[in-house]
């Protein structure tokens, strides 16, 4: 019983962090139809952004978080402005490969600067756990989960109730019609790339608090995010959250109940991806936009 309760706690905490990691990618893909391969690198760079102040000055990653979010927003908007804005009409192939190339550059700048070693920025309190008697709640993951809930909630409220948020949703549904509403398409694209990157960065800071980081973190974060988005259904943010829940639960289950499970965990998303592609290629929630 205790095992199952602990499993449930771990699965849900992991799912929350996964949701935050993938929501941004889901947003930018749904709005611009460009799959941004630098998304994972934003997670990785933000993790280092939290690590260095912590390592050098003992700065709490949570204090660095607002600064990192702002910088990431600017970087994401800048990425769109300077690399993708003049390429919105070229085939998707080229856009994907361009962001893939940029991602490679970012990853390997990190490899060159910081080498492949594992590091972590875990403050002492994040290592503690709340003892419930029957199960433990790891504090670091709980904080991460809380942040994920707050930031995702803020995203949903912003999309639902503000003019800019409504413009983003309109653009995801119909580009020309959105332009006819007087929406500045390119500005809205930049905005969604900025928000997307900021959310990725927030998840990177959380990851640095709860697990070791390396320059190769970005690729696995990217692949997980993509798996989550496809699981949930492209273009649906609610679907993305469901996808994160499915992946989080499945990975935790494999780690808990399969011998040698933690080694297999990275393969879980891959298997789920193929399963969903065969059974229900439009995702759990149904694909909301055509790519």
């Amino acid at each position: 019983m205790t095992l199952y309760l602990q499993f449930l706690i771990d699965a849900i905490l992991l799912s929350g962090i996964y949701a935050l990691m993938s929501l941004g990618l889901s947003l930018s893909l749904g709005v611009t139809r460009i799959l941004n391969f630098t998304h994972g690198e934003a997670v990785m760079l933000a993790a280092y952004g939290a690590f260095w102040p912590f390592f050098l000055f003992g700065t709490d990653p949570l204090l660095a978080l607002p600064v990192i979010i702002v910088l990431a927003f600017l970087a994401g908007a800048g990425l769109f402005r300077f690399f993708l804005q003049d390429m919105i009409k070229v085939p998707h192939f080229n856009q994907i490969l361009l962001t893939f190339g940029i991602a490679l550059v970012l990853q390997n700048i990190a490899v060159i600067l910081w080498h492949g070693d594992l590091r972590s920025a875990t403050p002492d309190y994040a290592l503690e756990a709340i003892d419930l008697g029957v199960a433990f709640i790891p504090v670091g993951r709980l904080i991460g989960f809380g942040l994920a809930v707050v930031l995702s909630g803020a995203l949903f409220v912003w999309l639902r109730y503000t003019f800019a948020g409504r413009a983003v949703r309109a653009l995801a549904e119909h580009r020309d019609a959105a332009a006819l509403m007087g929406i500045d398409i390119l500005k809205t694209y930049r905005l969604s790339f900025g928000i997307s990157t900021a959310l990725a960065a927030a998840s990177g800071v959380i990851l640095s608090m709860i697990s070791p980081i390396s320059p190769f973190l970005g690729l696995s974060a990217l692949i997980k995010s993509i798996e989550i988005i496809v699981l949930g259904g492209i273009g649906s943010l609610v679907g993305t959250i469901l996808g994160a829940l499915i992946l989080g639960v499945a990975e935790t289950a494999v780690a808990y109940f399969v011998p040698d499970g933690s080694g297999w965990a990275p393969g879980v998303g891959f298997s789920l991806l193929f399963l969903i592609l065969i059974l229900r290629p439009r995702g759990v929630r149904g694909q909301a936009v055509e790519i």
């Binding site: 690399f83 192939f93 994907i96 550059v105 060159i112 080498h115 006819l180 298997s271 991806l273 790519i291």
Partner: protein, 581 residues
């Protein structure tokens, strides 16, 4: 004459390069070998991309072949030749399985699946140590190692076979089917092309090709771990080589493979530290995609073509007259369109369309299917690039983006309504007031629209996509009115609606016109359009062919055949079916 010659440029350059490298000795054989095994890898990626199968995980096939070298020789003491056959079969089967499993996936999805496949295989290889040696790796059975010269000859031979295969494919009728699939898989299906069959064929063949390349590399490497075999490096090499050389072309992958190997060896010589190699690949990939999307081969070709084109330039048409100077300064002209031309790519749909609209006037632009009606409305709104001049309230519009035109007071109700289907009715309407000119007064305007269309008020919380065509048309109209336009353009508001609904839509348009807003109705349904118009124009084959005022309209409404009489004889048949509903 030049093109067939140029298609041999690649192999020729390769031969020169190989000769040059071979003469330097030392590491040169390494270079040659690498080029030779990367060629099949690059060709396999290129052929798959050419069929619309963008692979980001070509290392999956490569890695399977790489492992085959060690597993076959080690576990079952199979020979070099047998391992090649095994890798060929395993690569083909993996490709076929991938194609079938991802049968319904296009573009991005397929790319994701390949990336996941490669990473997944790496995990599997690591977690099955009994079979693959696990993370510790496995050695190729050195007792069975062929002579280095045999290995080299086989690699060069196989590169040649791959090149030949891609050359034959490029000349075969199948190439056309693959191109159609790349362009638009749905459309290709309607032409009788079975995408699944071709996908399976292409993925199987390319999987086999890449796997054999990997197997050869495995024999030369002598040692395999999951990290080495499924190294994403090779997935990246597989993309960079064709892109750098010239994507979708036959010589591209060969040129690119040579360039990439030279590049990576130079990087290794100059910047030995980990990371620089991939950094350079990333830079090259990004720069090539952005600044040289047709690659080395493509830019060579373009240079030759531009020489040929220079001769033709004397035939270019003279620049169109500058209508801007001639602009009428009359203050009551709301919209002045002069010499408007627009189209899609090379196909010009509108040629020299001129008309004007006075403030508060309602005009109807009539035209049959294909006359360019929707092209005209899109050009007026800036959704399509256009030539000529469009002057709204004395200000030139053509160089402004769509959202600025909306903010100046032009609104379009687009063809097919284009409501935001997953948003609520109210969200759709509020989006109509997104423009700064309308945003502050949006709630007042919302009440006005609900008063005009009570139906929308009842359904304000419903998803727009769930409403009937007539209701959606009301919503599109209301949404356009939310931006407080001074000029309203309607593109076929009657399209797909029952006659009774059409009447109520045009009643609403009439009410809007009575408030003094200038209106352009673009219609195929002459009765509906003319019923509320002050003047009309007839658009045929991309230009204005006739125009008329109220007196003509009354004549037409009482005698529909008179519309046929005022159009050009060669359009009469079209109009009979199109305009007079």
């Amino acid at each position: 004459m030049i093109k067939p010659l140029l298609s041999w440029f690649g192999p020729l350059l390769l031969a020169v390069l190989l000769a040059a490298i071979a003469s330097t000795g030392g590491r040169a054989t390494d270079w040659v070998f690498q080029v030779a095994v990367i060629i099949p890898l690059a060709i396999s990626w290129n052929v798959m991309s050419g069929a619309g199968l963008l692979s980001l995980g070509q290392s999956a096939f490569w890695g399977i072949g790489y492992f085959a070298s060690a597993i076959v020789s080690h576990a079952s003491h199979g020979s070099f030749g047998e391992s090649l056959l095994v890798s060929l079969a395993a690569g083909a089967l993996t490709g076929i399985a991938l194609a079938i499993l991802t049968g319904r996936l296009r573009g991005v999805f397929f790319a994701i699946a390949t990336l996941a496949l490669s990473e997944g295989l790496r995990v599997v290889a690591t977690m099955l140590p009994d079979f693959t040696g696990g993370a510790a790796g496995i050695y190729v059975n050195s007792a069975l190692m062929p002579a280095q010269s045999t290995l080299m000859a086989t690699a060069i031979g196989f590169a040649g076979v791959s090149l030949l295969a891609s050359l034959i494919l490029a000349r075969s009728p199948m190439q056309l089917a693959l191109r159609a699939m790349r362009d638009n898989e749905h459309a290709s299906q309607m032409l009788g092309i079975n995408p699944l069959f071709y996908r399976t064929l292409v993925a199987g063949g390319c999987g086999a090709m890449a796997a054999v390349g990997g197997c050869l590399a495995g024999w030369r490497g002598g040692y395999v771990t999951p990290e080495i075999a499924f190294d994403l490096n090779y997935a990246i090499l597989a993309q960079i080589a064709p892109i750098l050389g010239g994507i979708y072309t036959v010589p591209g992958p060969i040129l690119g493979a040579a360039a990439v190997v030279v590049l990576s060896e130079l990087t290794r010589l100059l910047l030995a530290q980990e990371g620089y190699g991939l950094l350079v690949y990333g830079l090259v990939l990004a720069l090539a995609i952005k600044y040289m999307p047709f690659g080395i081969y493509g830019s060579l070709l373009a240079r030759i073509r531009s020489k040929a084109a220079r001769i033709d330039q004397s035939h270019a048409p003279a620049a169109s007259p500058d209508w801007a100077d001639d602009r009428s300064a009359k203050s009551d002209v709301e919209l002045d369109v002069r010499g408007l031309s627009a189209g899609y790519g090379e196909a010009e749909v509108l040629r020299d369309v001129s008309f004007e609209l006075k403030r508060g006037e309602v005009i109807c632009l009539l035209g049959p299917n294909g006359a360019g009606k929707t092209t005209l409305t899109r050009a007026l709104m800036g959704l399509l690039p256009a030539g000529g001049t469009v002057t709204f309230q004395g200000q030139s519009m053509l160089d402004r983006p769509t959202h600025e035109r909306v903010n100046k007071g032009i609104a379009l109700v687009p063809e097919g309504r284009q409501v935001f289907p997953n948003l609520t009715v109210e969200d759709n309407l509020l989006l109509g007031a997104y423009a700064a000119r309308a945003r502050s007064a949006r709630l007042k305007k919302l009440d006005e629209i609900y008063a005009l269309f009570p139906r929308l008020s009842e359904r304000r919380a419903q998803q727009a996509g769930l409403m009937s065509g007539g209701e959606q048309q009301m919503l599109a109209l209301g949404r356009a009115m939310m931006s407080e336009p001074e000029l309203l353009i309607l593109d076929e508001p009657s399209l797909g609606l029952a006659p009774k609904i059409i009447v109520s839509v045009f009643d609403a348009v009439k009410k809007i016109a009575d408030t003094g807003i200038s209106i352009v109705i673009v219609e195929q349904n002459a009765f509906a359009g003319l019923s509320i118009a002050d003047r009309f124009y007839v658009l045929g084959r991309g230009r204005i062919v006739r125009s008329g005022d109220r007196s003509n309209i009354e004549g037409i409404l009482s005698d529909p055949n008179s519309l046929l009489g005022i159009s050009e004889p060669d359009q009469a048949t079209e109009k009979a079916g199109g305009c007079v509903a």
